[in-house]
Amino acid sequence: MKFKSLKQQIVIIFLTLVLAIQLVGLIPIDRSVDKNVRNLVAKELEVGEKVFLNLLESNNENIINGAKVLAADYGFREAIASNDQETILSALNNFQSRIHADIAIFHGLENEITTVSGDLTEQEALPAVQHLIDNYSASTQKIQFDIFNGMPYQLVAVPIKAPIIIGWMVVGFEIDDVLALKINQLSNLQVTFVQQTKDKSWISNASTLSAEEQRIVKNYFSQVKSDAIANEMDVGGELYETKYLILHDNKDNKLLAVLQRSVTAEIAQFQAMKYSLFILTILGLGVFSIAIIYVSNYIVAPITKLTEYAKQLEFGNYEAEIETDRIDEIGELSKSFSAMREAIATREERVKRLAFGDETTGLPNRAAFIQQLGDRIRVHRNRNQPLSVLVLNLDRFKQINKILGRDLGDVLLYEVAKKIKAVVRGDDLVARLGADEYGVLLSNLTEEQSLIVADKLKKAFEVPLEVAQQKIDVSAGFGIANYPQHGESDEALLHNAETALNVSKLRNSDIVVYHPQLDSGAQENLTMATDLKSAIQGHQLALYLQPKINMQTKQGYAAEALVRWIHPEKGFIFPDQFIPFAEQTGLIQGITLWMLEEACRVHAALKKEGIALTIAVNISTRDLISSDLPEKIEQIFKLHDVTVDAISLEITESSIMDDPVRAEATLQRLSQMGLKIAIDDFGTGYSSLGYLKRLPVQELKIDKSFVMNMATNENDAIIVRSTVDLGHNLNLKVVAEGVENLEVWDLLAKIGCDYGQGYFMGKPMPEKDFKSWLVRWEEQIKSMNADKADTTKKKATVHKIKG
């Protein structure tokens, strides 16, 4: 049998035990009651018999003593001696009434005279008297009975001595209901005197029983032979333990005393006792049940509590305290439990730190982040609250690590962690997800709010980090995924945030929020990589030229080569859409080489037409890092049989900063080859001027973002002017990009910018259009000069007025 609970077990086992003990007790009690009652009744009967006999004996003695008084009376003896019958009879009568006897008889020996007081004749009395005298013994006075006239009497005989026996006194008492009742009162027995008469029929003479019961007893004796009389007799449904005494037995009659004690009444008493015992048992069981339940509660309740605690532990909740003031085994167990809980908690804390922590930054690691993310998602799902996962990846960390060394790299990572933590709220989880990747779990923030946080972070990164007294610029890409719109599981959210981060890296854009198309974009990227490879080999790329104009001579001097991808299916693809990807994947090197070759070919082709055009080709970071670039360029020159002025190179500030040492070395070699080098997008990076000064560059190209609005934005104008001045001070030519109208042109020309590039002069164009553009440009110059003349006039006028 299996119990579901310990309490049940204790209660059932103990109650069964108690019940069993009670039953085991009850059964022998029940069994012995009958036996005991019979024994008891038999014993009572025995005692009753003795009481009965004692009573008869004491009766006997009383009668004897009374009779002796008369027998010793001198006058009475004198009357006997003188044979005075009348005196004798009157003495007998007197005596009989004095002691309340029923019979008094004198029997003289001298002359055999018998005098009887009472209703008997001499003839009736004589046989009994003779019998009594014959059986007389002075020492033992037997109790004697006889029947006179059908009635039983207790009789005594006393000798009359003068001083030898001269006669006998016989005194008798009738056996009647009074005697029976007296015996009953003394012995508590039912007494019946039954007599067998001469004709062998039975009559009852005296009894304590009812008439009907007497009849049954009498009938019993008439039916059963005296030697077969049982100990028990059923008298009208009541069972009697029965004993009988033969009081008198001669050939004529027989007198029996039937002593009885009811077994039924006695058993009824025991029955009542059994009933109360049963009630007591039930009550006892009740009390015991309550006690057992209390005790089992006392034992089991703390165990149940401990089980609860154990379950809490199972679920990893180590907070719950186990409190106990018990000093018994259960108290000990509780304390052990408590100690175990603390030990487990401590150990788990350590394991967690190792498993979920990052030693370098002290932040949780990726596993911890995912776990927490899962927990938060569950909480937020229930509360229907938004959640954001923000992941960020440091730009160029590998390079930084190489420059700083691993130890300082670690310090940098630590500082980055500090920076992120400083920006986000205290309860937002910051974790290190990978080498240079961090994750921030933003609770309760909508997409807009998370973008604000990302922006704050981005701004924070604009402040250089200080590592070992060095200020280091660190930038990062950001990807954001929001719960629930961007995923409902921890895995999905993190994956999507990282997808967004990748896209941000690919596109060189700072913050990207995930949307489903990015996934397909990633898919696209794969296809793009294959496509781009075949594009480089399969002549899907095209070289476009955007002219650079000398701002003083207004003559075409050079052009920037810009790559275009004419996809066989997708058609025209702008560089923004594949160049960052090509840079990421390394395909950029193939593109660069293709551009260098194409530039040389175009240069050569244009030269044949009489146009000497130096074509500027953009060189990427990867190109700069690969040390064989100079050799490759030389091979291309040889291949197309062009001189070094066929092309120039443009590099961005950031491309140098990724690996400044190697970039510088490559640049030096290119410069030594006679190649002219320009810094592209100047003003967007953070390169120090001191560093730039060391580089073998001849040109600065001001980023179009400053130039485009310089006519309307004074700050931009100041930046452009200072940059031009700066360039000139460093002995560099300055090129302005994004010149889109005459106004800007004029401003640039006025501040002495050397070259201009922009839609105002010419959009990027295929090689075949270049000649026709030149013709158009000549026309434009003429009109510009005409305008200029007007303007000068106006100015002069103004001067005049001023002057």
Binding site: A72, Y74, R77, I80, A81, A162, P163, I164
Partner: protein, 208 residues
């Protein structure tokens, strides 16, 4: 009991000596009395009668004293007309009585010697009792002859100075089953007589 029997002995001896002097005319009768089992019977009364014996006067006095709340002697034989005195030797008083038809009398509570002796003038048995002390019992057998005796410890009774004649020998004992009927036997007394042996049927229960 033994003491009681010793007292009369000197009397018998002197009597015997007196009779011996008249040896010529008188003879002695010896009777041995036994019970039915052959045991010697003490206190049996032996006497002889014939027509002449009743006329002989009895001038003797007799005495039955009460000592230690008992009569002494308990069994006596006297000739008709004998006066018997009942001196009380006890400190307590006695009430001697007899309801016997041979002599009814009573001596109401007395001590010392009563003023007058009681004359027993009728042959028969008198049973003496004391109304105060039920255990006191004595028998007096009164006979019409001077020739009587009582058996001693050997169950032997000797009657002396008996003229040589024919007699009726009678033996009585208080415990006789035949009550007051003595055993009888005719004898002839000669100068010398062989002892007569008499057997009596005795009710042992009545022996005192």
């Amino acid at each position: 009991m033994m003491k009681l029997f010793k007292n009369p002995t000197p009397l018998f001896i002197s009597l015997g000596l007196l009779l011996a002097s008249q040896f010529v005319v008188a003879a002695e009768v010896t009777v041995e009395v036994r019970d039915s089992k052959g045991n010697k019977l003490v206190d049996a009364i032996v006497y002889i009668e014939n027509s002449k014996t009743a006329s002989q006067a009895a001038s003797k006095e007799f005495q039955i004293e009460q000592r230690g709340r008992q009569f002494n002697p308990q069994v006596s034989v006297v000739q008709t007309g004998t006066n018997i005195n009942f001196p009380n030797k006890d400190k307590v008083r006695h009430h001697v009585y007899s309801f016997s038809p041979a002599k009814k009398f009573e001596l109401k509570l007395y001590s010392g010697v009563p003023a007058n002796p009681v004359m027993f003038d009728k042959a028969g048995t008198v049973v003496l009792g004391c109304n105060i002390h039920d255990t006191m019992l004595a028998f007096i057998h009164i006979v019409d002859t001077p020739y009587h005796a009582k058996t001693d410890g050997n169950g032997v009774a000797k009657i002396s100075n008996v003229p040589e004649e024919g007699y009726q020998l009678k033996v009585w004992h208080y415990a006789l089953k035949t009550e007051n009927k003595p055993a009888e036997q005719a004898i002839t007394v000669k100068a010398t007589n062989a002892p007569v042996v008499i057997q009596l049927d005795i009710n042992d229960a009545k022996l005192i």
